[in-house]
Amino acid sequence: MALAELVDATTEKKQTTEAVLELQEVSVLYSGKPAVKKVSCTIWRNRITAIIGPSGCGKSTLLRSLNRMNDFVDGVTIEGQILFAGQNLYGEAVDPVEVRRRIGMVFQKPNPFPKSIYNNISWGPSINGYSGSMDELVERSLQQAALWEEVKDRLQDSALNLSGGQQQRLCIARALAMEPQVLLMDEPCSALDPISTAHIEDLMFELQSRYTMVIVTHNMQQAARVSDYTAFMEMGNLIEFGETDQIFTRPEKKRTEEYVTGRFG
């Protein structure tokens, strides 16, 4: 089975690390209607966690609740707790702006600012009072996102002139410039061609040693290729959560097996 081989090839390091995010019975409701129902799981440091599941299963909703991007949706309520460094993200004393600064996000469609490449990277740090050398930070972020070589001679060009794949890597670089503790990715490759997708996946491997990542994807091969842990969701429920090779080769739940073998979804 091709999937199993892929999984074996990519998951050698198996020791657990410390928890970065702990979800405790998290429910997300839109105007009282639950989109995510009592999800509990742990996101481990320096690991890539994939959330998979059929369309409308609540995976993006769950992801957006991890850095409080759901706050901007009218009528949304969150129940349960999400612990980040021991503190509930939805606690009274927590400032959502601070949460988003520390938990970055890359969106489904590349959304660079209509500004220069340089300013795309520098804006976030500058509004947050970054005081080091901005040029260095821009270079470092672009290098981390494997974009530096392609754009180093035209940093003042508009970001909108880049290709879709380059724009998405720019968005990743922009998020990395904030040096977030967690990077959330909401189907980051769904608008990209296969070559750009491969670029992004390579990049995720590179970044793994420094960042904790959570990726939502509807592409099972992608989840199998890049992630250490996989969460399978259906109709707002977390059906199964575990190490990726276990989910793809020895799923405990019947529904998971049916989904990963392509029998539905």
Partner: protein, 292 residues
């Protein structure tokens, strides 16, 4: 066209005919209004061009047509434009930003929205009465430039709000999310991304609104702008006249010379308008290019 049956061919030909007919109709309507405008312009130019010279621009009004000029009216209009811009743009754009970016959707927001839409349709003379009652009388600002500018601002703020909101709405949500996900506050997002992206659209609305303001006569007459002013306003509290008032004053005199003076005044007013619009369009295009 062998692959179509005879019937289908006829039907298709018929549809093409209808399409051409409609295009022709649209062209006729468009060109007839352009034609009317052209006739009007030619007429006014023929009447007024003879009076249009440096003397006309630099003389105060007079009861002798040969010595009459529009110095004070032109100065009054320029004062008004600047003051109206300084009052109405910040108020209008802020209100639009508040309604689009900050206010919670709810009954209060809907109430404000409906009111703004209604206000933009209120006849200008009503604003004149309002200005007279509030600014001239209640606040005791007298028949001054500031009264005129405030009244005119009342008139155009709803227009600016509506146009600015439309421009702000066209800024994609993804840009806002990108900024917010970097730990920006609502205000930082709005100031650095939403406002610059909406700027060209806002400018268009502002140009149209300001153009309307400097052409308006009724509110100024009501708040008591004088039609004979033989001095230049030195500050916002001075009394004033404006181009439309001066034109109106001349046009209502029986002598033929004065109606020609009115035509010359109209030409000056048009020139001011065109200059203003050209400047604004220039600024808009420049910023548009910068964004791309």
């Amino acid at each position: 066209m062998a692959f179509l049956t005879e019937n289908a061919q006829k039907h298709l030909a018929n549809r093409h005919r209808k399409s051409r007919l409609f295009a022709l109709l649209c062209a006729i309507v468009t060109w007839s209004s352009v034609f009317l405008l052209g006739v009007l312009l030619v007429r006014i130019t023929l009447d007024g061009i003879g009076w249009l010279n440096w003397n006309f621009l630099t003389s105060f009004p007079s009861r002798f047509p040969a010595q009459a000029g529009i110095k004070s009216a032109l100065a009054g209009t320029l004062w008004l434009i600047v003051m109206i811009a300084f009052i109405s743009i910040p108020v209008g754009v802020s209100a639009a930003l508040y309604l689009e970016e900050f206010s919670k959707r709810g009954r209060l927001a809907t109430l404000i929205e409906v009111n703004i839409a209604n206000l933009s349709g209120v006849p200008s003379i009503v604003y004149g009465i309002l200005g007279l009652a509030i600014f001239v009388r209640f606040f005791g600002l007298e028949r001054s430039l500031i009264s005129g500018a405030l009244t005119m601002s009342l008139l155009i703020v709803p227009v600016i709000i509506i146009a600015s909101r439309e421009a702000i709405k066209t800024v994609p949500m993804s840009i806002r999310y990108a900024a917010l996900s970097l730990g920006a506050t609502r205000w930082q997002t709005t100031w650095s991304h939403v406002l610059p992206s909406a700027f060209p659209g806002i400018m268009t609305g502002v140009i149209l609104a300001l153009s309307r303001a400097i052409g308006e006569t009724a509110p100024l007459i009501l708040i008591g702008a004088a039609s004979y002013v033989a001095f230049l306003p030195k500050g916002p509290m001075d009394s004033f006249t404006a181009l439309p008032i001066q034109i109106y004053g001349w046009a209502s005199r029986p002598q033929a010379e004065f109606s020609e003076l009115a035509a010359a005044g109209i030409l000056v007013l048009l020139a001011v308008l065109l200059l203003m619009n050209a400047t604004a369009i220039f600024i808009r295009n420049k910023t548009e290019k910068r964004l791309k």
